[in-house]
């Protein structure tokens, strides 16, 4: 894939990539498999995938764009939900945790691109995002953190591992073909 030759061109590419990645986030968010009281959504799958193939500016722009689109009311969050109410509701921690997730993974990927490094970065970021989301949920709903940790994090861990495996396999193939998006 061609490298941008100027700062302006890099900015345009960042904007186009951010839009493309935000679309995948929106579409993947609607893919869900019920898993107890917690749905398995494709959202974090897309999140991990794009964080694993792009520099922080691009992946952060994509997540920010996704959150802005959801905030102004486009039904693109999990389950077609949207609006400021979602962004500042019980699930706010999970959504803002996306920014931390992509920042961490992308920062690692810029320097280290071996499959096990991609896997470790995604696993660590995934667990941190779940932790932030769960604490946010517990504080919002006034539920003991220990109870919330089980329902909002422990249940998710096996799914997080499955997602990390898929992300690692797909991301390594994309990096082989396109390199890391700069």
């Amino acid at each position: 894939m061609d490298k941008p030759t100027s700062k302006k061109q890099a900015n345009v590419r960042t904007l186009v990539l951010a839009a493309e990645f935000a679309v995948f986030l929106a579409i993947f968010a609607q893919i869900s498999i019920p898993f107890g009281i917690v749905p398995f959504t494709g959202q974090t799958l897309a999140l991990g995938l794009f964080a694993s193939i792009a520099r922080p500016k691009i992946s952060l722009s994509a997540v920010a764009l996704y959150l802005i689109m959801g905030a102004i009311g486009l039904p693109i969050f999990a389950g077609g939900s949207a609006g400021l109410v979602v962004l500042f509701g019980p699930n706010a921690g999970y959504l803002f945790g996306f920014l931390i997730y992509v920042a961490l993974v992308s920062a690692v990927i810029v320097k280290y691109q071996r499959w096990w490094q991609i896997a470790l970065a995604n696993l660590g970021a995934s667990l941190l995002q779940l932790l932030i989301g769960t604490i946010g949920y517990a504080l919002w709903v006034h539920v003991p953190v220990t109870q919330a940790l089980y329902a909002g994090m422990v249940v998710f861990i096996p799914l997080a591992i499955v997602k990390v495996v898929i992300v690692t396999l797909v991301a390594t193939k994309i990096i082989q073909r396109f390199g890391v998006f700069k």
Binding site: G80, I174, F178
Partner: protein, 276 residues
């Protein structure tokens, strides 16, 4: 394409002719007041209004079936989750306790909890049609222009318009790749085993991502050649000057918002309490 997530559908209705900025402000205003207010009477009135608007927008079930099914499933799941985490939250809000099921233990069912969850369900019925009306009656380019008009940076506005244009493209692409892979013998139907379906899904996912990434250079170079981002401001081909219908709509929406806020004062808070 059937069953899109959402997409603009050009029609000849008064809602389609309204300016993008008007629809955006009306949509955000009504959504916020409907979500903020827990006055059941007010929410029901707004719900009836949105359903009338929905009918007037000439939106067909075929256009929205997928997104409605997904939202319905999540809404039900959300209502169940609310009950599991806080079965006594209604009691806490309304300050009374009318027991229906279970007299001790964690899981009890009260009229207050049911009423609270009914209010939550009403909010979905109000905000979902509003979102769909807005998306289906607004051209993405006009939407970008309207965002820019209400103060959003034109780069962000354009990125959102670009994303809205991509969604139908990605979905059409997905359908093409999916059919091609099924013709090659990959199983994607619900009848197949999970492992087989996952393998089939991977065979769709990889080409879908690759084809999407391959067009990025084409689009960014086309934008660069048109000097996108060179100036601090830009004009919009699809910009819409506000007319009488726009001002009238904004006035009605402002009136509804004022009534909603007024009810906060009448009810002594956001909640209408029929139990006292």
């Amino acid at each position: 394409m059937n069953n899109q997530l959402f997409g603009y559908d050009p029609q000849d209705t008064w809602l389609h002719h309204l300016g993008g900025a008007t629809k955006l402000l009306a949509f955000i205003g009504l959504s916020v007041i409907a979500m903020a207010s827990y006055d059941t009477r007010f929410t029901i009135v707004v719900m009836i209004l949105t359903l009338i608007l929905f009918k007037q927008a000439k939106i067909t079930w075929r256009q929205i079936s997928l997104v409605v099914k997904v939202i319905f499933a999540f809404s039900v799941l959300n209502l169940i989750t609310v009950y599991i985490f806080a079965p006594e939250y209604g009691v806490h809000i309304y300050g009374t306790r009318h027991l229906l099921l279970g007299n001790h233990g964690y899981f009890t069912l009260t009229q207050e909890q049911l009423f609270y969850e009914f209010n939550l369900a009403l909010k979905y019925i109000v905000t979902v049609p509003l979102a769909l009306i807005f998306l289906i009656t607004t051209n993405p380019s006009e939407f970008a222009a309207s965002l820019n008009r209400v103060g959003v940076s034109y780069r962000i506005s354009y990125a959102i318009a670009l994303a809205l244009r991509y969604i139908p493209d990605v979905q059409a692409n997905y359908l093409q790749i999916s059919l091609a892979q099924q013709a090659r013998g990959y199983e994607l139907s619900k009848k197949a085993k999970l492992a087989t379906r996952l393998k089939g899904a991977t065979q769709v996912l990889m080409p879908l991502i690759f084809s999407s990434l391959e067009r990025i250079d084409t689009i960014s170079q086309a934008m660069e050649l048109r000097r996108f981002g060179r100036n601090k401001k830009r004009t919009w081909y699809m910009d819409h000057k506000l007319g009488k219908a726009d001002y009238g709509t904004l006035l009605v929406v402002a009136g509804i918002i004022v009534i909603g806020i007024g009810l906060f004062k009448v009810n002594g808070g956001r909640f209408f309490n029929p139990f006292k």
